[in-house]
Each structure stands twice: as C-alpha cells, then as structure tokens.
Amino acid sequence: MADVLSVGVNLEAFAQAISAIQALRSSVSRVFDCLKDGMRNKETLEGREKAFIAHFQDNLHSVNRDLNELERLSNLVGKPSENHPLHNSGLLSLDPVQDKTPLYSQLLQAYKWSNKLQYHAGLASGLLNQQSLKRSANQMGVSAKRRPKAQPTTLVLPPQYVDDVISRIDRMFPEMSIHLSRPNGTSAMLLVTLGKVLKVIVVMRSLFIDRTIVKGYNENVHTEDGKLDIWSKSNYQVFQKVTDHATTALLHYQLPQMPDVVVRSFMTWLRSYMKLFQAPCQRCGKFLQDGLPPTWRDFRTLEAFHDTCRQ
C-alpha cells in the first residue's frame, strides 16, 4: 500500500515551513505580550505613548514578515496527492506499526460497511414507499395523483397552512375539539379534547407531531403560569398507557411526503378512544385486565384490545 503513495512533497520545504509556523506563532504572542504589558514608565506621557506605539508597530511588522514567509514556503511544499481513494486518511496506511494500531484496516472495513448500509437503506426506502400508509392506502391511491408531488421542504411549511390543516381536522370530528396555540414561536401546540374522556397535548414541528401526552378529562393540562404542560405525565395508569400507545402510533403513521395525511390518520386513530371505558376487549371480551381497560387500538381496524391481548 505504501508504495502507491509516492508523497510528492518537498521535505526540505516542509521543515522550513514548520519553523516558519513556529516563528509566526512567537511573533504573534509577542504582539499580545506587548498589548498586555501596556505602556512602560517613561518620563513624559508623550514619550510613553510613542514608545508603546513603536514597539507595537515593530511587532506587527514581524508578524507580517513571518506570515509572508510562511505563505511563500507553503507554495513550495506542494499538495499531498489527492488520488488516494480515502484522501488524507489513506496516509494512515503509512503507519509502520500495523500490528499495534490496525486503524487503517478498520477504517476500510467501516467504510465498506457504511457504503453497503447506505445502499441497502436506499433499496428499503424504495420498497417501503411502494407500500405507503396502511390505513389510508385506498383513499390515497386516488388522492395521491391530484396531490402536488412530494414537497421536500415540509419542515418549513407556512403556519397558515398548518392552521388550515388542523382546523379542517377539527371540523371533521364533532366529538373532538382541537385548540391550536403557538407559545414558543412558529411550532404549534394542540390541545385535543375528546368528548369527556381525555385530553391530549400534541407538540408539533411544522406538520410533524413531535410528542404527545394523554391525560384525563379532569386532569390539569396547564402549568402554574398558564402554559400547556408538555412534560408531566398523567396521574392515572390508564392514560400513561394510552400515552405510550399514542407515541407508538406516531411512529406507525409515517409518510414524510404527506404530513397532513399523517396528522389526520393519527387523529382518526385517537378518536377511537372515545369509548375507552365502554368498549370491551375484542379478544378476551372483558373490560379489565390487571385493572386496566383495553388501552390499545388497532391501527387498521381501530378495534379495542388489552395491551397483552393484541396480536
């Protein structure tokens, strides 16, 4: 490997350049020393100023001189060959103590591995995109054609657009009320009240849902200063469980090109909690298991299951 790398470098110039760098560094420190020391005692104030300025000028001149010298030398040094596939890291192969530090071979392995990973990830993403969002697959087949093709910059949607999408969803579900606020700049926060069953705090980034917390209808969702409390969890186990499931749902409903469909699907799913205390488990037929009602809702059918009863 080492012979491939005929270093086209003028070693003499290298040595000189290194000492030029040292010279430059010491002249720069002299400038700061001079500034730090300030004016020395002289008989007159004028004398003091004059001496200081002259000293300062001298120092700056020498910095200038050393810098010029370094620039001149750096042209002589020449560039290290760039035709090595790993660029400068290829120089690692020159390390004579291969056995002790097998850095270079490890580097090559990692490089190959990450190349492969990227390749496979690309394939997977292509395949997954064909599957599209499970539940709304049908309606999307129709609407996807009308829809403007993938906007890549969905993270910078105008707030007005976000408002429109949310208010459309709000009108879609009469038993669900959505209150949108923007306490921290452009990112929206939603307070969703579902019947008299539960409240959900949804933290958005553009049209992506970042975080969601489910609480009871009679629980406080605000902090003492009246802001939405996006950190504390519900006091009730049942809503802690639903919060976990809602977070899972956020990961399930993913469609980066159409964030509005994702929000709508999530809200449709959330709405199925309207019967949180009234729907028995679709598998075991009971209401309670370990003191909890069926907290899971199937992503596709929206049927109620206990956490341990779902497939």
Binding site: G216, Q237, F287, D290
Partner: protein, 217 residues
C-alpha cells in the same frame, strides 16, 4: 371522581356472611382486595346527622317536617354537605356546622341520629376502594363499599367496567346501577353525587334498624 356505593350495605346480603358478623365480613372483603393486589392507603370516614324542621316553624297541622342531612367526608376535609331527600345538595365550607347551631330555632338535630362509616382506603391501579363499617351509636349496622374510578368523569360511561371490577372481589353479590347513573346521562360526576349515595345507603340502614336482623348485635 367517580365513586358509587354498593347497595349491599347490610351484612345479611353478603354471601359469605352467614354465621359471621360485620367485622368478620369486612375482614373477608379486605383480604380479597389485598389478594387482588390492592394496596392500603390510609383511612376514610363519612358521617351524617339528621335535622328536622323545628315544630315551632311548622305551619298547618299535618304538614310533615322536611328532613335535612348534614354530612362530612374525609375525602373533602374542607367541605360540608347539606342534603334533602330527593332534593338539592348544598356544598359548603365546614363553617356550615356553626351556622347549623345558630339555626337551632329552625332545624333541630334528631336525637341519636348520627350515623357514620369508617374504614380503610385501598388503591388498585386507578381504582379507589373504600370498605367501611357503618355504625349508629355503639353498634355496627352494616358495610359500605365505595368504588371510585378516577380516570372516568361520566358515571354511565364506566358502569360495565366498574361492575366487572366489583365482581372480582364481591363475587355475584354486585349491586344494580345506582340511580345517579341513570339520570343526567353524560353529566360530569361530582362529590355531591357520592354524598347522595351515602345518604341513601344510610337511610336504608336506618330503616333496617326497626326490623331486627339475625346476626347483627
């Protein structure tokens, strides 16, 4: 808040109580709760005193004096509840007790009418269960069982769920739905709803007093 009271306030109605007294039945119930995994969380007390309209304020003969019940619940230590049968429930500060003394001319406390239930609170998941011994004067009269399912604010929404929970430690001796579940279909449950149920339970137990029940001393 979502409590309700078990109708089976009397020992004789408990299946396991044959040959046992109130105390033993309470122990049996609490043991079942503990086996279920419920944890003890302090104690509770609900008391009730009956007042009737003073004779001097009654009008024409034959008009019955209206009964008023003044109640306290350790769950709401700063409140006092004043209820009429089938009537409104007033929620007031505990100062209300002092006011009742001043109103002596209009409302008189019925003799030895004080009835109360005391017992242990149990927490199981989101359920709060209070099993209490109902006493009038020195003697134990029955058992009250209150179950509260905090997450749900509409009583009728979670009745089936509550029933299933009750069956898990009461067996087949589960009550019918309390009346509070029927009226006001989607109203949010309030502490007053609990007090009305305790009042009804206490009245039932008072009436039993006239008919001596075997096994109760």
């Amino acid at each position: 808040m979502r409590p309700f009271l078990l109708e089976g306030g009397s020992v004789s109605q408990m299946p396991v109580a044959e040959g046992k007294n109130v105390q033993q039945t309470v122990e049996l119930l609490t043991r079942k709760l503990e086996m279920l995994g419920a944890e003890k969380q302090g104690t509770f007390c609900v008391d009730c005193e009956t007042y009737h309209t003073a004779a001097s304020t009654l009008g024409s003969q034959g008009q019955a004096g209206k009964l008023m019940y003044v109640m306290h619940n350790s769950e709401y230590p700063l409140s006092c509840f004043a209820l009429f049968e089938n009537g409104p429930c007033l929620v007031a500060d505990t100062n209300f007790d002092v006011l009742m003394v001043k109103l002596k001319g209009f409302f008189q406390s019925a003799k030895a009418s004080k009835i109360e239930t005391r017992g242990t609170r149990y927490q199981y998941c989101d359920f709060l269960v209070k099993v209490g011994t109902v006493t009038m004067g020195p003697s134990a009269r029955g058992i009250s069982v209150e179950v509260e399912y905090g997450p749900c604010v509409v009583a009728s929404d979670c009745w089936s769920l509550l029933l299933e929970f009750l069956q898990s430690f009461l067996g087949s001796h589960t009550p019918g739905a309390p009346t509070v579940f029927g009226n006001r279909h989607d109203a949010v449950y309030s502490p007053a709803d609990t007090m009305v149920q305790y009042m009804e339970l206490f009245n039932k137990i008072r009436k039993q007093q006239q008919v001596p029940v075997a096994g109760i001393r």
